[in-house]
Amino acid sequence: MIEILYFAWLREKIGLPRERVETGAATVADLVQELALRDDAYALAFADLTSLRVALDQELADFDAPLAGVREVAFFPPMTGG
C-alpha cells in the first residue's frame, strides 16, 4: 500500500488530498500511468508531467525513480514558496 498525496490545483482537479492505493508500479511514471487510466479527472490532472513535481517519502524525485520501499508519494505543481 502506498499513500498518495495531492497538492494545490492537482488536489482540486482530482478532488481529494490523499488516498491509499495498492499498486505494482515499478516507477513513479508507471504509477502515473495507472492513475491516469482511472477516469477523466485523473487523466486531465496528469496530462502534462512537465507541469508536475513529485516527492517520494518527502524528498523531491524524478518521474523515473523506482517505487520500491516507498511509503508516501506526493504529486504537486511547481512550488511557489518565498
Binding site: L5, F7, A8, W9, R11, A55, Q58, E59, L60, E72, A74, F76, P77, P78, M79, T80, G81, G82
Partner: protein, 150 residues
Amino acid sequence: MTAPLIRVEAAAFDQGAELNRFASAAGAAGAVVSFSGLVRDEGGILEALEIEHYPAMTALAIQAIAEEAARRWSLTATLVIHRFGRLVPGEAIMMVATAARHRREAFEAAEFLMDYLKSRAPFWKKAFTAGGAEWVAAKASDEEALGRWG
C-alpha cells in the same frame, strides 16, 4: 554556527522583533542580512493569498536548504520563518536572516536561501480577487535563478 532556526507557522510574526532577536544572538557576526517577502496588493485587486504546504515535508526541505547554505558560507546564524494559511496584502509571508563575519557571505547566503525556498520548498500560493481565485504559477525566472548556484 548555531543550528538554523526554522519555523513554519500560520500565525503572523513581527519581522522587526525577529530581526532584533536574531541580531542579538548572532554573536561574533558583524554582518546581518534579512529578507522579507510581503503580500503585494497588486494594484488593489488582491483580497487575500492562501498558502498551502506539505506539512510532513516542509520543515525537512527548509532544513536541507539551510544546511546546504551553511556548507557553502561561513554563517554564524540562520533563520527561516514561513507562514501558511490565509494572508492579506501588506502581511509578511516569510523571512530569512543570515549572520556572518563578512557582508558578502551574509548577502549570498540569504539570496541562496530565497532562491531555493522559492522553487524547492513545498508551498503553493492561491490568489483571491473579486474576480475569483487562481493558483499562482511558478516563474521561469525563479527556476533559472537556481542556475547561479551550480
